[in-house]
Symmetry: C2
Subunit: 337 residues, 2 copies
């Protein structure tokens, strides 16, 4: 009977040490801080490492050095297409820097979020928190212990990358006004979402500046399914234009409006937020705030890695511009007969 294959011994620095005649510590140095040893030594050791197909053991390295070369990216819901771009951006940038990418879904729960984070604390060098559900205090406390970048969330002392919704919302409002709309409804997303509040505030402000009526409906869960309820509620108000918390909700609304035989933009105009995958091929195609989300992911990684190299550095905060992308879902005010 065969033995059940005892975990195969992998090549270690000791094997390289034995092969080259140097001490293990010298091998370690030659590999991880080449400047510390003689050039010839370095070459010999590196050659042997290649020869033996040596792969450093990250766990062992992390144990003493404390660095794991792993960053976790937390999203509130992996299935939300908004995060696709973000994940793509972080993935790209992390891979380029040789870091591993640990994906965590916090399921919209603050408890789960902080639980996962404490559990993983020792396995990661830093984290990128997209749409964190944590309170400001909790977030600040966490940031003191773990290098962090928050996406779409600003808290004192916590690095962040935020997308400039206020400016985008203002553009959208002006666009609607220019089309003749005088009453705009905001279809609210989850109440514990920071971005949701920011968008509503921006709309109120823009409405105030232009002296028009703005209202808020909801909250609605940020999914396509909630679109039906949102659409029905919007129709019920008699308003001629709606700005949805995000594209998912907006697309759900479009579907519902089509079902009910309501003409978009003939009878009502709809604006989304984020410009996710699908916004350009839904029907009608969606006017939306285009967020440079992939870039946000890349920037977040850069800021995080910069912080890791220089922990004393300043807590930077970056604001990325949005712009309105006008498509088919917005049009002139219907002429009342």
């Amino acid at each position: 009977m065969e033995t059940p294959a005892p975990r195969p011994r992998r090549v270690t620095i000791n094997d390289i040490a034995a092969a080259t005649g140097y001490a293990a510590s010298t091998v370690s140095r030659a590999l991880s801080r080449p400047g510390r040893v003689n050039a010839e030594t370095r070459d010999r050791i590196q050659a042997a490492a290649r020869e033996l197909a040596y792969v450093p053991n990250t766990q062992a390295r992390a144990l003493t050095s404390g660095r794991t070369e792993t960053i976790s990216v937390l999203v509130s819901d992996v299935t939300n297409p908004f995060y696709f771009g973000l994940i793509r951006g972080t993935q790209q940038q992390l891979k380029a820097a040789g870091y591993a990418h640990l994906l965590i879904d916090s399921e919209n729960s603050a408890e789960l979020e902080s639980h996962m984070l404490t559990k993983m604390r020792q396995s990661i060098d830093g984290a990128i928190l997209a749409a964190s559900r944590l309170s400001d205090r909790a977030l600040a406390a966490l940031a003191a212990d773990l290098p962090l970048v928050a996406i779409n969330r600003t808290v004192r002392g916590v690095q962040s990358v935020v997308i400039d919704s206020p400016s985008g919302i203002a553009q959208a409002t002006e666009h609607l006004i220019s089309l003749g709309h005088r009453e705009i409804v905001y279809l609210s997303g989850p109440e514990n979402s920071w971005a949701n509040e920011a968008r509503w505030r921006a709309l109120s402000a823009a409405g105030g500046r232009h002296g028009l009526a703005v209202r808020r409906l909801g909250p609605f869960p940020a999914g396509r399914k909630s679109g039906s309820a949102a659409a029905d509620a919007l129709l019920n108000t008699g308003a001629t234009a709606g700005i949805a918390f995000n594209d998912l909700l907006a697309i759900g609304m479009l579907t519902r409006l089509r079902e009910r035989g309501v003409n978009v933009p003939g009878q009502i105009s709809i604006v989304g937020c984020d410009d996710i995958f699908g916004a350009d091929f839904c029907h009608p195609t969606l006017t939306t705030l285009t967020a440079p989300i992939e870039q946000a992911g890349r920037m977040a990684v850069s800021m995080l890695l910069a912080r890791l190299e220089n922990p004393a550095g300043p807590a930077r905060s970056l604001v990325l511009p949005t712009h309105l992308t006008v498509r088919e879902s917005t049009g002139p005010l219907p002429t009342t007969p």
Copy 2:
């Protein structure tokens, strides 16, 4: 001047040992194999662990035990929405089992794929390979060293979960035949994709059975952008129906056909594969093969974890059914005047 905060000491089993008066080894046992110690001892130690907010260090654990409680999921392109469902499925199931989810993008490159895998080998307990670009030989060799589950790929000796495209393609073919189509074109995806070959073979076979003309165009990169070229090529053949390698390509084709003023399904019918996010709200909505991809992700995780518990177990292979979801993009053969 403040000291730059030397890495904060975290609570270890030694702290618990000191606090309770037991030896570290006993603490370790009480925590990780509670049956091995006296009930009272276990309770005291676990209470102390809770008290001190002890969090086990996974790196240290991995070093001796060899198990990291981490599974990596490799996809060929994170931005492909096909993977969203898969990632969701694996994420759910892994979290439930207490495993970490390491996401890797192989960028459609076999080299990168195997490079990442060898680099990570010691940091993971197993891997799920979606759309692997590795050769059969390389894959089998890898599987001998690392517990593996391949998605949409069958190789002798490698566990797998595949989606039953042949049956789905057959359904799609019969659907098109029932609508009167006599000539079907396959819009091919990347040549190094196993699923692409499987789909084409299935279509050839189905075509043969029903005595109709099938042709193949391409290969086209599996993205929406390639849809234009694919649509133009399809129109050029004069065929009345096309089955696209995947929904991304199909949606791209719909966009192009609309641009060119071609009526779908009035003049031409389009079928996609996978039923990704967007297939139900593009215009026209897409008839497609609905793949239980999220379930595939969950099953893959289950199979992998089962294998980890019992490495000697058989290399199982699972086939998941597909079904045709008929929407607006397919219709009766246009009546030639």
